[in-house]
């Protein structure tokens, strides 16, 4: 069994991983885009604000522009003009709360302030006028604006809260990020599902539309092939048309089935089936339709393999085995007869089926594609084998493809079996 230990194809796992990746990428993309957008908005808004030319005057600036003269205080002309322009006012209080200098001070304001009044206005408003305060040695500079020109609020947090915030802020962001990822993932999946559904329907529609005309091609080609009025050559040609139309029929239904299986749209009609019986009937059908001597199928089923029962969609399992044997027939037996060996046994309570042929074997590229490592390279069609994989995986089984050392290819299928003890109770 050592050569079976190769990478297992798991489409479902890959599908989920891919979707998750899309989700994360989508979140990152959205985050980056949002940041860029916000920055642009902020910068342009700031630009607009700057252009409106509305600043306000700081107490420090006023103090710098204020000089002490013999006649009291004098403000530089530039600063005085700025007060005019900004429609602001200012006053200077001494240590006793007396106004010792002012510019454009509203008339309703007093000339003297008590300590409690100063304390009250220090953080808020003075009679509805928003004010800033700056202590200058033993004097207090108050720069005010017109009513309703400024919104003020006092922020205060306990230290313990800030420490807690510092500790939890990372987790907080992480949870946020996770939530957005999940949300984006759901949206992506929904969107992807919708798109897939449309594609499946489109394929189903196309295959439906092709079938009716193909019926006519197939039917009349068959009639011509058996017509006695035609020459041998013409009958041969009709036979080719008929044969190729059968190939087309298989292609169409493969295409349809692939798309249905890919997105798990096909509900499995599971029933208890005996794989041994299915393998035999498929093999017999191939032998019956083959030219005598050109195909050998050796089926070996051991005692326990014979008893094996699995829960599976019979039709799909038949299809899988048919595709496998068909592949061996198509690519097998250089020069001489195609030889296929099918063995069935039970190992570790699983039903194992091994099929090998004497054909050309799988190319490195096809093996890569079958193992799901490489995609979308249509140099050679492996749709038939992909269906085999998908059918087996859809049944919760495992499948390996590989090349035999002595030439030819092999395929091992492992299926979960119905417990024989249950089976005994059942019958």
């Amino acid at each position: 069994m050592s050569d079976f230990r190769e990478e297992r194809i798991n489409y479902n796992y890959m599908k989920v991983a891919r979707l998750l990746l899309y989700g994360v990428l989508a979140v990152l993309g959205i985050a980056v885009l949002t940041s860029i957008l916000n920055m642009i908005l902020l910068v342009s808004a700031a630009g607009v604000y700057v252009n409106t030319d509305s600043h306000y005057i700081y107490g420090g600036d006023v103090m710098e522009a204020l000089t002490v003269t013999e006649n009291g205080y004098a403000l530089s002309e530039d600063m005085a003009a700025e007060f005019e322009r900004e429609n602001q006012w200012a006053m200077l209080l001494d240590d006793d709360g007396q106004v010792i200098w002012s510019i454009r001070k509203p008339e309703e304001l007093d000339e003297e302030y008590s300590r409690s009044e100063i304390a009250r206005m220090s953080r808020w408003y003075l009679k509805g006028y928003p004010v800033h305060m700056r202590v200058w040695d033993d004097r207090i500079m108050i720069v005010g604006m017109q009513k309703d020109a400024m919104w003020k609020y006092n922020l205060e947090f306990s230290i313990s809260w800030m420490v807690f915030l510092k500790r939890t802020i990372l987790a907080f962001f992480f949870i946020n990020f996770l939530w957005i990822v999940v949300l984006a993932f759901c949206f992506t999946r929904r969107f992807a599902k919708k798109r897939e559904l449309a594609r499946i329907e489109w394929i189903a529609g196309i295959s439906h539309d092709i079938r009716t005309p193909l019926s006519m091609v197939m039917g009349y080609a068959d009639t011509l092939e058996h017509s006695e009025k035609l020459s041998e050559e013409a009958r041969q040609q009709a036979a080719v048309i008929r044969h190729q139309s059968v190939v087309m029929k298989e292609l169409i239904s493969d295409l349809n089935l692939t798309s249905q299986l890919e997105y798990s749209m096909q509900a499995l009609r599971k029933e208890e089936v005996r794989p041994a019986e299915i393998v035999r009937s498929v093999a017999a059908a191939f032998l019956n339709d083959s030219i005598p001597g050109m195909l050998e199928i050796d089926v070996e089923v051991d005692e326990r393999g014979e008893q094996t029962v699995v829960k599976a969609d019979r039709q799909l399992l038949v299809r899988a085995f048919r595709n496998l044997i068909n592949n061996s027939v198509k690519h097998g037996g250089q020069m001489d007869a195609v030889k296929i060996r099918i063995a069935m046994w039970v190992e570790k309570r699983k039903c194992c089926i091994r099929l090998e042929d004497n054909g050309v074997g799988y190319s490195e590229e096809i093996l890569c594609r079958l193992r799901g490592r490489k995609k979308e390279n249509a140099a050679e069609s492996i749709r038939g084998l992909e269906i085999v994989s998908k059918v087996i995986l859809a049944h919760g089984g495992k499948i390996w493809f590989g090349n035999c050392e002595e030439g030819g290819s092999y395929c091992v299928i492992v299926l979960r079996m119905v417990d024989l003890r249950d089976r005994l109770n059942y019958t």
Partner: protein, 249 residues
Amino acid sequence: MNLYDCKILLVDDEKALREMVCGFLRHAGFRHVMMAENCKTAEEQFLIEEPHLILLDVMLPDGDGFSLFKKLRQTSEVPVIFLSARDEDENRLRGLGLGADDYITKPFLPEELTLRVTAVLKRVYRVKSMQEEEIIALGKCQVDLGSGVVRWNRDSENSVADGKRDGVNGADRETMLTAKEYAILQKLAQERGRIVTIDALCDAVWQEENYGYENTLVVHIRRLREKIEEDPSHPQYLLTVRGLGYRLV
């Protein structure tokens, strides 16, 4: 009633396909084939002609084949074979348990169509086609499937098998097949030249729940060989296909 006297109603909206299928059936020998292009005319035809079998397309311009089928089933037990162009229909047909007699997925070969039509008609009306062989010739031995009798031609007085089987010389020797042997031989004769798997044979002999009868089948085959083969240990006609089943040549 002869098989080819059976009336067949073909319902399909595609004119070209209708004509083609009709041609196939006529070619196969069916003399009475009627056609309808939609549910409405199908119902009318059904009432007037009382066909023995209906070939019904699933997609029709004025409704789908399934509902027409259900409607017909309310009044009649006429066998119906569905024609379908979608794989999905196959699931519905299998899953719904509509009780349709068979279905054919487009595209199909004429042979497939006539085989299925014939099979359903034979099963439902127990009619026989004219070509059907009643007597199987296996060298010096002839098996009459009508009566289940095996007759040996007495030309070969010296044959080892004859001497062994009975001591009576002269008159043609006749043996009867048991029911099981008969069923096996009938199945093999139906598929003469083709491999019939062990499972298919068990199905034919024991019908349902036949698992585990493989060994018994081997015993029946041996007895059957003793009756029809000159040398049962080196069979000439009833051949074993290793690992798969048996074949009658």
